[in-house]
């Protein structure tokens, strides 16, 4: 007997102003399964989800839910049929509180009075967050003040709290730390047991193999295949995704580590998020920075970069103390900073790739304040090429690029300044496996030219695979420096949780 699938998409095509993004794609989700959707950046995963839930209209093809054909024209209709999405780009309203965000559009009232029942909404918010093992967020916190990871947890809690039959998660773990991911997975498997189905989009292979039942792979907008997780392998999935063998995940390092170039001495923040942070980075060295969410890693980096006010301490480049009044001081000295939150801090989303890449390089592409079109074009085209940004051209709005390609644009803009020191905060978040390797290769290449690298990452395999030395932060203090040879996941986690 054939069981009707929960969702069935057949022959779905979609193009944006002549650029075909989905070609004749098929996709099926059964009740109560966790179905992974994988593919490189720009393969069309998010677009497929948006077509399913009515955010984008399909050009052709058929979509059935529980056997009946549907034509959603907005996500509310999809939600009414039990399909909710946690989008890759967060949908949190920054100046509202956590519980206001949780109940946005479905606020609870006293009877039909229209008067909001704040008490109940807060209690329910607290409860759903607790289910996710999140205890350090209060329903009254202003959402915009929370880290990206915490905001992500709010979105997840919001989706889990609906009585959905299918929950689609577009890279939910990109901003989460190991511990949060673990509690997320617990909740997911629990809901699965109750018959809820999931579509799970992620670039983290380990996760897919850990919790998914089946996997569908897209490449360049085409359907490549669907496999049972138990019948496939890591290598096969990668091969289906990129169309060729990829080889080693972390390319070999061959840089020579030189003298100390960058010194941070006893740095403390004004608002008390971290204290007395000291470290050094040598020429050609990669210092990995590990820690749990809230350990203050991003705050340390933003302070070093002159974006936040320091309370005390200093930063030296080649023995010379740097002014830290404004990011401009650091950039002029040759320090680059790839921020963790590309949407709100890394990119001008409504502008073109060209304008975004040019932004930190305005001095290079101009003379006496006047921009040279030729210089700008050369610089931008060169960097787009070097980073293999997948785009219709340098005038494409950054907003319409896939997540991973947006990240490449951020990296591209900073390579333009030829930095001596480059700080990367979660540089491969949301980036596909092929592009990750490209980013590691770029980092390696930079170190071969003597650039000192500071890389903050929540992905321990990445920290272990890339760093020469690892610094661990816990609640705003450095708890350990570990050489690569001596490091493993347990040692780092121990230091990150405060044990020594």
């Amino acid at each position: 007997m054939m069981v009707t699938p929960l969702v069935e998409m057949v022959g779905v095509s979609k193009s944006f102003s002549g650029n075909q993004v989905l070609h004749n794609v098929q996709f099926e989700v059964k009740k109560g399964e966790i179905h992974a959707l994988m593919g490189e950046n720009g393969a069309g995963k998010s677009t497929l989800v948006k077509v399913l839930t009515g955010i984008h209209e399909r050009d052709s093809g058929q979509i059935k839910v529980n056997g009946g054909e549907v034509h959603f024209t907005n996500p509310k209709q999809a939600e009414a049929r039990g399909i909710v999405v946690i989008h890759q780009e967060l949908n949190i309203i920054p100046h509202l509180t956590v519980s206001q965000n949780m109940f946005l559009g479905k606020e609870l009232t006293y009877g039909r009075s229209g008067i909001l029942n704040h008490r109940k909404m807060k209690a329910l918010t607290e409860e759903s967050l607790q289910k996710l093992g999140v205890t350090n967020i209060s329903p009254d916190d202003i959402a915009g003040d929370l880290s990206v990871g915490k905001q992500q947890m709010i979105e997840i809690a919001r989706a889990l709290a609906t009585n959905a039959e299918l929950i689609i998660m577009d890279e939910p773990t990109a901003a989460l730390t190991e511990r949060e991911i673990a509690s997320l997975f617990e909740v997911v498997t629990d809901l699965k047991r109750k018959g809820v189905a999931f579509v799970y989009i992620s670039h983290r292979m380990e996760e897919i193999f850990q919790i998914c039942d089946r996997i569908t792979i897209l490449r360049d907008g085409e359907y490549i295949g669907t496999e049972n997780i138990s019948d496939t392998s890591f290598e096969q999935v990668v091969k289906m995704m990129v169309g060729r063998e990829l080889g080693e995940r972390f390319p070999a390092r061959k840089s020579k580590i030189g003298n100390i170039v960058f010194e941070v001495d006893n740095l403390s923040s004004k608002d008390g998020t971290f204290h007395n942070v000291s470290f050094t980075v040598k020429e050609g060295e990669i210092l990995g920075v590990a820690g749990l969410m809230g350990a203050g890693r991003t705050e340390v980096m933003e302070t070093i970069f002159g974006y936040r006010k320091k309370d005390s301490g200093s930063v030296k480049l080649n023995g010379k103390e740097l002014k830290m009044r404004h990011p401009n001081d650091l950039i002029n000295a040759g320090v680059g900073f790839i921020t963790e939150d590309r949407k709100s801090k890394g990119l001008v989303l409504g502008s073109s790739i060209r304008e975004n890449i040019a932004l930190v390089n305005l001095k290079t592409v101009s003379q006496k304040g006047v921009i040279s079109n030729k210089k700008e074009r050369d610089l931008v085209e060169n960097l787009i090429e070097r980073l293999h940004v997948r785009t219709t051209g340098k005038e494409q709005e950054v907003k319409s690029l896939s997540g991973g390609n947006q990240q490449k644009v951020v990296i591209a803009k900073w390579l333009g300044i030829n930095p001596k020191v480059l700080i990367l905060d979660e540089p491969t978040r949301g980036v596909d496996i092929g592009a990750k390797k490209e980013i590691y290769s770029i980092i390696n290449e930079l170190t071969e030219h003597g650039v000192a690298i500071i890389m903050v990452s929540s992905e321990l395999p990445e920290i272990l695979g890339v760093s020469d030395r690892i610094m661990v932060l816990h609640e705003g203090s450095v708890t350990a420096f570990i050489d690569r040879e001596d490091a493993d996941q347990e040692i780092i986690m121990l230091a990150a949780t405060g044990g020594n």
Binding site: H326, A358, L359, G369
Partner: protein
Amino acid sequence: MKRFITNNISILGPFIGLIVFSIILGIFSDSFFTFDNLLNLLRQISVNALIAFGMTFVILTAGIDLSVGSILALGSALTAGLLTSGMDPILAIIIGLLIGFVLGAINGLVITKGKVAPFIATLATMTIYRGATLVYTDGRPITGLSDSFSFQMIGKGYVFGIPFPVILMLIAFAILYFILRKTVFGRQVYAIGGNEEAAILSGIKADRVKIWVYSITGMLSVLAGIILTSRLNSAQPTAGSSFELDAIAAVVIGGTSLMGGKGKIVGTLIGALIIGVIDNGLNLLNVSSFYQQIVKGGIILLAVLLDRRSK
């Protein structure tokens, strides 16, 4: 060609609107498409256009400046005061423009260093500057200004048959167009409006750029005021009241987003022309000024609605 169209899509609507309005008026009024009337129209819009050019920069940074009319009045009154004291007219004008620059810089400082929202900050300075004008002039017009050639020229002169205010407007347009299109400063203005945090993290001194933007706007407002003063041969303490509304309208009709980061100064010029065509045309048709206001408001709404649709 295709590239040209996509690059200019934002001003295509306003441009078509301008053509349509002109044609309609041409049909109804014989005197609309006369050379004299068109020159007259350009002269009429020059004051609003100069202010609106500055406003374009302000709005591109996601700000707003309500104080332009008051700066215009205070700058003109002080310039008129200098003129009556017998100062060399060119020097007086330069000092007047500098005063506009400083009044604008004060706006910028309050907004950036004081972290006051632009709407509130300039609402306050609008009142303060107007009050200062009334104090300085004692509420009476300043008359008996210089009859020197250079001062009279500014508002009433012609060069090769073209009104001098129009020439000033075109020069200002050319310079500001160049700044927005081709310079680092222009790029920074757009970036701040598009995403201020990302701009700062890219090393842009957002505060400094904004202070400049408000200063330039202040200076352009006084330039517009000096044109008016020269035409009327007197400085009025109430000059420029509600000019901020026409300036904002020109910017918005011209397709610049009030959210900042997107827009073009060409659009603003077209916006100012549309407002001018409506004023001028409805006058030619003897439509009462009461109705004119209704039409103007309707067109602002229409422009914004059409802009929404195209997104």
